[in-house]
């Protein structure tokens, strides 16, 4: 009898072990991969793999509902989506800086929300260290959504719909800031943009081919831009002074590191969907890609900590003639992912 106990018990343990292995390995190598999140073939492994935040369809939908819900702002007037618009790659079209409650204007340009699962740090100055808490700034900044976490949790608890949705996703009657952040992350973490023409060319899909100007632009890109905007994410996630001003009025990275050498340095932004996410730079000072390239061509200021790549052999900036600029722009437009920008999954639920 004792022996039977042992054998059956061991058999159950084995079954449990096998089933947990097979659920991890379902069809793909990366544990983060699910129907809602797959690592594109031409991407490295993500930094965030939803560990401790099991990605489910219900969780994704809850995150999406929160993202589009103005209940999160102090006066219930704006949602995350007010400044993060899908058609602009979840940046804000035509707004140099963020526009919060009571018409308050922030100081920095709304960044795109794509491929966040690959980011180590967040915000223009890299002050936020984890995707799960990346929404906290906008939610609590008095010039953005101007709310506080206890109030948000209280509103969610008191709402008619959220308690049941949180219970469905997290199997608990509790709602707290941790579960709220995890739910939001199930939405923003799955905003993967990797199906531009560029991606299809690189992955040899659908017979996609660059045109001649695009191909010339790609060559120019690799020589002049790729050191910072490195493929395939089109950012090396570093902080650099690009000579926008002789002395920046925004401390930038310095405000996080307290290092004078970081004054006026900002994160290298991704160039994916750059065609649709104007205006550009940390303060949204440039409206067009032509203006951006002209800055690099002729407008770079010799700031004390100017990035060395922008001052090679004593020459300021990146010289590109008009034809080269237009070729480069033709290439940059191949980074536009229309499927992502129009994906119904990411739209406000009806």
């Amino acid at each position: 009898m004792k022996k039977q106990f042992f054998v059956v018990g061991a058999g159950l343990l084995f079954l449990a072990a096998v089933s947990s292995f097979s659920s991890n390995a379902s069809g793909s190598a990366d544990p983060a991969d699910s129907l809602l999140f797959r690592t594109p073939k031409n991407f490295p492994a993500p930094v965030y793999n939803f560990q401790g935040n099991h990605l489910t369809e219900a969780g994704f939908k809850l995150g999406r509902k929160l993202f589009y819900d103005p209940i999160l702002s102090s006066d219930k007037s704006i949602s995350c989506a007010n400044c993060h618009q899908q058609f602009a790659s979840f940046a804000q079209l035509d707004h140099p800086v963020s526009h919060g409650v009571d018409d308050c204007l922030g100081t920095r340009n709304t960044p795109t929300l794509i491929n966040l699962a690959w980011e180590k740090e967040f915000m223009w100055d890299g002050g936020v260290n984890h995707i799960e808490i990346s929404s906290m700034n906008a939610l609590t900044n008095p010039c953005e959504m101007a709310n506080n976490l206890p109030e948000i949790v209280k509103r969610l608890k008191q709402s008619e719909s959220y308690p049941a949705l949180f219970k469905q996703v997290f199997q608990t009657d509790e709602i707290n800031s941790q579960l709220f952040f995890k739910a939001i992350t199930q939405f923003i973490g799955t905003l993967v943009s990797a199906n531009s023409k560029y991606d299809q060319v690189i992955r040899h899909e659908n017979g996609a081919k660059f045109t001649d100007p695009e191909l010339s632009g790609y060559a120019l890109f690799k020589t002049n831009c790729a050191a910072c905007h490195s493929e395939p994410l089109f950012t090396d996630q570093s902080y650099r002074n690009k000579g926008l001003d002789l002395k920046s009025d925004d401390a930038g990275r310095d405000s996080i590191t307290h290092l004078a050498s970081d004054h006026g340095k900002f994160r290298v932004p991704t160039l994916r969907n750059v065609e649709v996410s104007s205006p550009y730079m940390h303060d949204g000072r440039f409206n067009t890609l032509e203006e951006v390239l002209e800055h690099y061509n002729s407008g770079v200021h010799n700031a004390p900590n100017l990035d060395p790549l922008l001052k090679q052999n004593g020459h300021l900036g990146i010289s590109l003639n008009k034809q080269q600029q237009s070729q480069l722009i033709a290439f940059l437009k191949t980074l536009t992912d229309r499927q992502f920008l129009n994906n119904d999954l990411f739209k406000e639920p009806k």
């Binding site: 984890h130 700034n137 579960l179």
Partner: protein, 250 residues
Amino acid sequence: MKRIILVSVAVWLLAGDIYASAGIKADTGKVYLNFKNEVNGTPLKLNDTTAHYSNANHDHFTVSTFKYYISNITLTTTDNKEVTIPNTYYLVNAADSSSLKQELKGVPTGKYKAISFLIGVDSTRNFGGAQSGCLDPANGMFWTWNSGYIFLMLEGNSPQSAAKFHKLTFHVGGIKRQNTLRTFSQSFKKPMLITVHKPTSIGIKADAAVLFKGKNLIDFSKLSYTMGGPNAVLLADNYSDSLFTIELLK
């Protein structure tokens, strides 16, 4: 056969439960942590203008907020084994009397000669995304724009402070660049005995005045505000070894 499966599942689950709650070793006891906050050896009274607290620079001050995290409690047995008690995070808030008595559960029975813990929150939780309980950012001990926990917060007023309304605002935190995470250790005067049946109590006194003396003499006319960064390190270096005094209680 079915019955055998059911019974074996029950036995398996039960065993798993006991192991999970006790951390494999079944014999554990409980320690109460009784916190007392003081200034220069007298009990801290918040917003008390009659208390006349002064720092080592002879600047007068009052305290409106005094909060700190301790975490990662490790006990050393009398035969020199270090026992780290998992998931130990405590937020002590002078304004919340319920935070002054905390429980340390799951301490393996035995004799211990010393205690150590972090003043603050470890890297794993600082860089680990959304947390809950006393680490919930809703507790107001978290920086949003430069993510990380505020390890220790003292706010108040001093006539010597040059800040608006003569405020004192000392928020100490940060690990990556200007590291303010400190480990506090102290030996007990006699061994602490942990048994299954009877809880033990430890008294932990925290003296807020030590923030301003020791390695770096703080002059409120020159420093009345830290928000992480190099100046927060000055305070952390001051309180690192001397913030707490620990004694076994009967």
